[in-house]
Amino acid sequence: MPDSVLSTHELHKAFGALRASEGISIRLLHGEIHAIIGPNGAGKSTLIAQICGSLRPDSGRVTFLGRDVTALPTEARARMGLARTFQTSALAMDQTVMQNVLLGALGASGRPWRFLSRVARDAGLRDTAEAALLETGLQDLARLRTAELSHGQRRQLEVAVALTQAPRAFVMDEPMAGLGAEGSRHLTGFLDRLRTRAPILLVEHDMDAVFALADRITVLVYGRVIATGSVEDIRADPLVRDAYLGDGA
């Protein structure tokens, strides 16, 4: 088995009668972008929640960097280098853009127990934060309150925070959602470069982006994996066309 950075083994999760994950096993390899696609309600976000630790699977395992992390809380996985973006932005609205990114850097530094020093004067944290803002093109907005950002700008900030975490793997839940055409194009190019830093597990409905980026695609329908393969395989798969892509793609 080629060594995978992140993998799940036979994950099962049910909400009452609804089976949101049924034996999901996927792997994220070094240097790749692995896209998860599937109809709405297929269980993509549920899968991500289990990978990141905010939801506990009924059975099955999650392995990250060769270690079984199924029992670890979210923050421990994050400290190991698992960075995520949220489908609905989770940002501190009352803080500035800079503060939101600084938080990411602070989390990564693992030293939050400093009570009397100025966080904004910590050169290490600042550098990480500024670099992340620069990469996402938000450097000019650093001093704005996050509440003042437009929807699209907030989506970019989500990515910026993940960048500060010195990640070993990214898990992104619909980072393109809400970005305009221009923004999507920009982000597509950016993710393309990002994969060399750490592999990306990408949930996305923007097929243009997915087809442009993904090394491999897994298709989830009703909690089950119905296909995994390269872009060409998936495009050609009649099952996938029927369940998800429709005739447009």
């Binding site: 630790g53 602070l106 989390g107 009570f115 009397l116 020093s117 001093r143 975490q165």
Partner: protein
């Protein structure tokens, strides 16, 4: 921002000038009132750490205030009666020394905050308010019916405790001690707010999911905030007990918790000087309105109502405008 800075400076100056004037004019009662206000401000500044920075609306801060008070009462009463506090494997004597009492007050109330926090931080929002209230009520009823230290009658310490080099019975000297503590805590608060911990705590208040996702545990951050908060309020409790030379379960009552919260809210939540403005205002209102009529609390109610309705973010917000002042 600048305006707030000016207001803070004015408040601080007032806290120095007015008692100074009172010494000159021989108005010991004014000093007493100022001491009361400063101690309440200290208690509220403690709460402001949990409430303003951490978003933890604790309706049980009287527990810490009271524990601080009882730490003083218990230690001093044992010293007064020459009976050991604990006589077992080793012996603990009572004491009339303020520094030791302060340490004991801060440590015991911090411990209590840790215990309550571990249990309460599983909840949030209104549930957190109520579970802290529940712990407050438990402590209150326990203190009322526990006979060892006077029960509801409380505990009188006839003479104020001592501080090396000072005559604490002199009102202005005791006031100076209290003011020094307040300044120290406000300085700490100002630093804390901009510190790495402050940032993490503020984020834990707004977006706990995000904090987890970057590898921090929001509950532990909040627990530490609560412990700091409880310790400061406990310290204020010890000073308050010393001011009155008396401690009773009324320091543990939910009304007391309510008042501490009120100080913070009327002053301005999360404002550096919010607790100070709130406590000073409240004590002044209580004093001035008290003479108007038997029904003076109606006026107090109306004044408080006016502050809420017309001032966003409390008195400081009313004067200096809205917004969280950091960044």
């Amino acid at each position: 921002m600048n305006r707030e800075w000016l207001l803070n400076a004015a408040l601080l100056a007032g806290l120095v000038v007015v008692p100074g004037w009172a010494v000159w004019a021989d108005e010991p009662f004014t000093i007493m009132l100022a001491t009361r206000a400063v101690i309440f401000a200290l208690a509220a500044a403690g709460l402001n750490i949990a409430l303003g920075l951490g978003g933890l609306v604790s309706l049980g801060h009287a527990v810490f205030f009271g524990i601080g008070g009882y730490a003083m009462g218990v230690l001093a009463s044992h010293a007064q009666n020459y009976t050991p506090l604990y006589d077992g494997v080793f012996t603990i004597q009572g004491t009339k020394s303020m520094p030791v009492i302060w340490l004991a007050a801060a440590v015991t109330s911090g411990l209590a905050a840790w215990l309550i926090g571990v249990l309460s931080l599983r909840t949030s929002g209104a549930y957190f308010i109520m579970i802290t209230l529940a712990f407050g009520q438990m402590a209150y009823f326990f203190a009322i019916s526990w006979p060892a230290y006077g029960g509801e009658d409380g505990l009188s310490i006839y003479v104020r405790n001592g501080f090396p080099g000072l005559n604490t019975l002199d009102p202005i000297q005791f006031y100076g001690l209290c003011l020094a503590w307040l300044c120290l805590v406000l300085w700490g608060y100002a630093r804390l707010r901009r510190s790495p911990f402050g940032l993490a705590l503020d984020s834990a208040r707004q977006v706990p999911d995000r904090v987890r996702a970057v590898g921090l545990d929001p509950r532990r951050l909040q627990l530490v905030a609560l412990v700091l908060s409880g310790a400061v309020t406990g310290l204020a409790g010890a000073l308050f007990a010393d001011l009155n030379r008396f401690v009773s379960p009324s320091m543990l009552s939910w009304q007391m918790s309510g008042e501490i919260i009120v100080f913070v809210i009327i002053g301005g939540v999360a404002r550096l000087f919010g607790p100070v403005a709130g406590a000073v205002f409240y004590v002044m209102m209580e004093h001035w309105l008290g003479g108007i009529s038997d029904y003076w609390q109606i006026f107090l109610g109306l004044v408080l109502l006016a502050v809420v309705l017309f001032g966003r973010g409390g008195l400081i917000g009313m004067i200096c405008g809205k917004g969280r002042p950091d960044a």
